[in-house]
């Protein structure tokens, strides 16, 4: 009646299989994953996926609606909307990912150190973070981008920095909780130094939470990039970006609403997909069900 397999290896593989099965039972999460992967691949292989170059103009079809040659229509310069959306995904997704990575790299160590060592340093970190949290993410991002100057790189930086405070709070909260676990005490009793305790016992047990947080930060950054580009603080035309497209669509809202609707839909769908993916991951990785 042995239900524990005898093979020595495969413990990790078994766990992954269980998680995969759990994930596949959630249609919302699966669909979101497909959308996210699709968007990322489309952006990466834009040259082959997009029917036209984003700068290619077609003066025979200005502000035209959906047609066989231009599935989503064209803009005032005859550029294909669908292609510009696909190419525009590059800016958005790049900004989304890079800003998130930057934010993580900055926030997690700060949260870890504050939460682990406590004392005056932690109090200082916590209070400063609280103050920064009072500013809505977009306000901070816009402010920083205005200071740094308009470019995709600066927009990414601004978004990354603006995303740091909530991530500090989460990293610090996790650290505070994890350091009370008995296995951390056991590590102290083992004679481990701080680096070992933080690196082997605390940080690895945070990764699920951090992963979920990353999948929730990315869409915020994507929307943020769109906002910054719309305001002229991010990507500069003629480089396509969803925000830039939205801005350019303003004079033509009556004649060719599609110029705003399609990029807008792209933002909504991709951001929603990341959010639902994050939710799904959080359910699947719930430590309560790991026991």
């Amino acid at each position: 009646m042995s239900y524990v397999e005898a093979t020595p290896l495969g413990a990790r593989a078994r766990r992954r299989r269980i998680l995969r099965r759990r994930f596949l039972r959630r249609p919302a999460a699966v669909i979101s994953l497909l959308i996210v992967v699709g968007a990322v691949l489309a952006a990466a292989f834009a040259r082959w996926v997009a029917p036209y170059s984003p700068d290619a103009t077609d003066f025979n079809a200005l502000l035209s609606g959906p047609s066989r040659e231009h599935l989503l229509g064209t803009d005032d310069l005859g550029r294909d909307t669908l292609s510009r959306i696909i190419w525009g995904a590059r800016a958005s997704i790049q900004a989304g990912f890079l800003a998130t990575v930057l934010a993580m790299v900055v926030a997690v160590p700060i949260g870890l150190i504050g939460g682990y060592y406590r004392g005056w340093l932690d109090t200082a970190i916590a209070r400063v973070t609280d103050v920064l949290l009072a500013f809505p993410f977009l306000i901070l991002a816009v402010g920083l981008a205005a200071i740094l100057g308009p470019s995709l790189l600066n927009a990414t930086l601004a978004l990354g920095i603006a995303a740091v405070p909530p991530l500090i709070r989460i990293a610090r909260g996790e650290t505070l909780a994890l350091r009370e676990e008995d296995y951390v005490r056991a590590a102290v009793a083992n004679g481990a130094n701080d680096a070992v305790i933080i690196g082997r016992h605390i940080l690895p047990n945070m990764t699920s939470t951090l992963l979920v947080q990353a999948t929730l930060t990315i869409p915020a950054a994507i929307i943020g990039e769109a906002v910054l580009s719309f305001l002229g603080l991010g990507v500069q035309p003629p480089t396509p970006s969803w925000g830039v497209m939205l801005n350019a669509a303003q004079p033509y809202l009556n004649e060719a609403p599609g110029l705003a609707v399609y990029p807008g839909l792209a933002i909504v769908i991709v951001a929603l997909a990341f959010n639902l993916l994050g939710d799904g991951l959080r359910d699947v990785l719930d430590p309560r069900t790991e026991r």
Binding site: M1, R21, T289
Partner: protein
């Protein structure tokens, strides 16, 4: 009124989870007489809590329950929501294990008891308040009028458990189901709660179903004992009979595993039961205890043992019952 107060017959509970089905209870039967204290004993995962929760219909939606639970003739598993609500809290009440989390922290304890009273009985505010003080006094909470105005966090664990019991007794229920009521409490506090439960049975005539993993608690207060293992009933007998003449090897193992203060156990060893509780994801078509049983043989591995009377008023589900 003759006949059992509560009759559970062939109760089975199955949970459908992400990782497959879990058969928490398999064809469980129980009966409770008026004024009786029935002890349901087992270790974690044996299904005793699930059985209790299914009696009052407190299982989550993922639970599939089959069988019959009859309270004074009324079939609870088929009852309508309103019928259930009339029974739950009024005729059959429940005391949970964790007094810390079963009381709402933002309401005063008196208010919480009042809520229960006014839900089930037509009492005016004043009458309900009066009854609350009476109830707190009944469970020996000193200075009951003042305590009723306090919040749960101002009371100790033992007090909170008494408040829970007072709440459960509010409507004079015929049955009180207590799920590990003393497990989270200190030893000296536990003694007081057990005395209280016994007193309540004597004074008010409430029948009690006491669920526990602690054989000492059962020895203290139960009239009749049911031993559960892996969702099934393993043995049932009056308390003195069970402890004096245990028949099921699991029961014998449990009794031998408990160290006893003052006994000569020092130079002996505690009895171990090798192996562990089987996973409940498949219903075994053989004796669930077979892999841990010193008496297991071919029959144990091929058939499910049925409950049989092996001594007067003493039933066992085992192919090789006996005191060793």
């Amino acid at each position: 009124m003759s006949g059992p107060l509560l009759e559970v017959e062939d109760l089975s509970v199955r949970f459908d989870t992400d990782e497959g089905s879990v058969h928490a209870v398999d064809r469980m039967s129980l009966s409770l007489e008026p004024r009786q204290v029935l002890g349901v004993v087992g270790e974690s995962g044996c299904g005793k809590s699930v059985t209790a929760l299914s009696i009052v219909g407190l299982l989550p939606k993922t639970a599939k329950v089959t069988g019959s639970v009859r309270f004074e003739g009324l079939e609870l598993l088929a009852a309508s929501k309103s019928e259930l609500r009339r029974v739950r809290g009024r005729q059959i009440s429940f005391v949970f294990q964790e007094p810390m989390t079963s009381l709402n922290p933002v309401f005063r304890v008196g208010h919480q008891i009042e809520e229960v009273l006014r839900e089930h009985m037509n009492l005016s505010r004043a009458a309900a308040r009066q009854r609350v003080v009476e109830l707190l006094d009944l469970v020996h909470i000193p200075d009951p009028a003042r305590r009723a105005e306090e919040y749960p966090h101002q009371l100790s664990g033992g007090m909170r458990q008494r408040v829970m019991i007072a709440m459960a007794l509010g409507c004079d229920p015929k049955i009180l189901i207590a799920d590990e009521p003393t497990t989270a409490l200190d030893v000296t506090i536990q003694a007081g709660i057990l005395d209280l439960l016994r007193e309540l049975r004597d004074r008010l005539g409430t029948a009690i179903v006491l669920i526990t993993h602690n054989l000492g608690v059962v020895a203290d207060i139960a009239d009749r004992v049911v031993v559960m293992y892996a969702g099934r009933k393993a043995e049932e007998a009056p308390v003195g009979e069970l402890f004096a003449h245990p028949q099921h090897p699991y029961t014998i193992g449990l009794l031998g595993a408990v160290p006893r203060a003052g006994a000569a156990a020092r130079n002996g060893r505690l009895q171990e039961i090798p192996g562990r509780v089987p996973s409940l994801s498949e219903l075994p078509t053989h004796c669930a205890f077979a892999d841990r049983c010193p008496r297991a043989d071919e029959q144990s591995w091929s058939e499910v043992p049925v409950l049989r009377q092996v001594r007067p008023d003493h039933a066992v589900a085992c192919f090789h019952p006996g005191e060793q």
